[in-house]
């Protein structure tokens, strides 16, 4: 069996592990547009802060590829998929035959059309190369504007602040990271950022950019405000890299590639996993789990992927946020359990719907968070232990005995 995996990141590497659980023999080839062995993509901000060094970037040690007999083609892009011939064409003309193919191409930053924006005057924040380029510019005392106060923008903000750069965040929504934070939590985090010297402009966006004579950027906002900056980072989301499959028979593309329950794409032998998959939250655990299952299925396992609600841990400048499911929900149809201690920057909110956990948002008190995630994913009725949920000693024993007995017996 001939496996070809396009993209060399979390989904791909986990697919290798998945394949090898079932098939020790087949040949595996990974094609990577980036010039690196897979690295923890979210590590780029830590690298920029120098909390992580080059040698700690790899997601898996070199032996991983050797032990699993994986051929990795670095710095090559797959440009065409020929379903008839069952071949992938690389940008150097090489053609790789495959029996099973995994599309794990992730996403690329979305960059909106803005007057004056040129490849030379902005940065994206998604690749190792992005931060390597940014490193030279991020010098103490400089000023940066980041467009987008979502997780990527916030991580970029953190690393720049740690390097002594003065940061301004510009966000179109009325609050930080609107899909995950409700207004109250958003305000709490905004206050925290301002206390840490970060400027924040909400309900605003960039309208034009101009390079001044002194080399600095003059940035105009929709509100009319003008900002001067040395660095502009655009971090308003990613678009799935679906081009290889676009237009091929049997494949449906929405925002991403539509997959069946077994993560197959509709083209025989072709699977997809990770950020490129339609409807999948662009989060690392999801990419890893999908990758593993896709790999197993490519090797014949026939496993079903149960779509997982988003869950995410985000930390910056010492603040820690765990969000899951419908974490920003407010509204009548939900029952909200909250614990708020603004002085300690603690915010804990559980969102219940029909007596089941539908979301959770935990700021700075995150112990045992995974238990909430499990309750949420399994859709367990919490009526009988609702008043336990926010107790400081919430834990397995808060759950009905049958559940914790079973869990401890694993």
């Amino acid at each position: 069996m001939n496996y070809v995996l396009i993209g060399n990141s979390v989904a791909s590497v986990n697919a290798v592990a998945g394949i090898r659980e079932y098939d020790r023999e087949g040949s595996i080839t990974i094609v990577s547009a980036e010039n690196y062995y897979a690295y923890g993509r979210p590590l780029i901000s830590y690298w920029l802060e120098k909390r992580v060094q080059d040698q700690d970037m790899p997601y898996r040690p070199q032996e991983f590829y050797e032990k699993n007999c994986v051929r990795v083609i670095l710095g090559r892009r797959a440009v065409k998929l020929d379903p008839e011939a069952r071949q992938v064409h690389l940008d150097n003309g090489e053609k790789l035959p495959f029996d099973r193919l995994l599309l794990a191409t992730g996403g690329r930053p979305f960059v909106p059309p803005i007057a004056g924006l040129t490849a030379a005057n902005y940065f994206t924040f998604i690749n190792y190369d992005d931060v390597r380029r940014l490193e030279a510019f991020a010098i103490p005392g400089r000023e940066a504007v980041i467009l987008g106060a979502g997780p990527t923008g916030l991580k970029a903000m953190e690393s720049l602040v740690q390097r002594g750069v003065k940061v301004t965040l510009v966000e179109l929504a009325d609050r930080i990271w609107a899909p995950a934070l409700d207004p109250e939590a958003g305000a709490l985090v905004a206050g925290f950022l301002q206390d840490n010297g970060v400027n924040l402009y909400l309900n605003d966006t960039l309208t034009s950019i101009r390079q001044e004579d002194d080399g600095r950027l003059l940035i105009e906002l929709k509100s009319g405000r003008e900002l001067k900056a040395d660095i502009l980072v655009i971090a308003i989301g990613v678009r799935p890299n679906v081009e290889l499959l676009t237009g091929l028979p049997g494949v449906t593309i929405n925002r991403g590639v539509v997959v069946g329950p077994d993560l197959s794409t509709g083209l025989p032998g072709v699977y997809a996993a990770g950020d490129v998959v339609d409807g999948n939250p662009p989060l690392l655990p999801h990419a890893a789990i999908q990758g593993k299952i896709a790999g197993r299925n490519m090797a014949g396992a026939g496993e079903i992927y149960q779509p997982l609600p988003p869950y995410n841990a985000l930390g910056f400048l010492g603040l820690h946020i765990i969000s899951m499911g419908n974490s920003a929900a407010t509204g009548e149809e939900y029952e909200l359990l909250t614990e708020v201690d603004p002085a300690a920057l603690v915010y804990r909110k559980l969102v219940l719907k029909d007596n089941r956990l539908s979301g959770a948002l935990l700021i700075n008190k995150i112990d045992r968070a995974g238990i909430y995630r499990q309750l949420l994913e399994e859709g367990i009725e919490v009526t009988s232990f609702k008043d336990e949920l926010l107790r400081p000693d919430f834990g397995l024993l808060s759950l009905p005995e049958t559940i914790w007995q079973q869990q401890l017996a694993v």
Binding site: L43, L284, P285, A313, D367, G370, L408, A409, V410
Partner: protein
């Protein structure tokens, strides 16, 4: 694989498993140094939960498909393919705490050692023979045994 199983009927809520865990994961492996010099109080990787009279020591179940490993953004958390032990390569950890959000048992707590993040989770004392919590439990409320074939 051999795992630690709690026998709640005999857990007497002494929390000595936590103490023994802390000492076993200290630099000095000495009770007094661990607590008084290394300041490791509160860093146990086993959590004794209490709903008196019931108490039970909760710790990592070393899952077959560990969520903590799947979610780890740095590749620090791994499952040893030979022993099945799930452990963190602590010098690789960046403290994002995705593992905390992932673990269905809440068996990982965010921790810190010398200014570096440490996911406080059981590693079955992988360098020793028997986990310290089991060896030191005065009432045999913890056992280290194989229960499921292949698990």
């Amino acid at each position: 694989m051999k795992k630690v199983y709690a026998r709640p009927a005999y857990c007497m809520n002494c929390h000595l498993c936590e103490v023994n865990c802390i000492v076993a994961h200290s630099r000095s492996r000495d009770l007094f140094r661990a607590y008084k010099r290394e300041n490791l109080r509160g860093t146990a990787r086993v959590i004794v939960e209490e709903r008196l009279p019931l108490s039970v020591a909760v710790q990592c179940r070393h899952c077959d498909d560990p969520r903590c490993v799947a979610g780890c953004i740095s590749g620090a958390m791994v499952k040893d393919s030979e022993t099945g032990i799930v452990y963190c390569q602590e010098d690789k950890c960046v403290g994002c705490w995705t593992c905390v959000a992932g673990c269905p048992y809440g068996a990982i707590r965010p921790g810190e050692k010398n200014g570096r993040p440490v996911p406080l989770k059981c590693d079955l004392c992988r360098e020793a023979g028997e986990p310290a919590c089991v060896a030191g439990c005065p009432n045999r409320a913890l056992v280290f045994e194989e229960r499921r074939a292949g698990a």
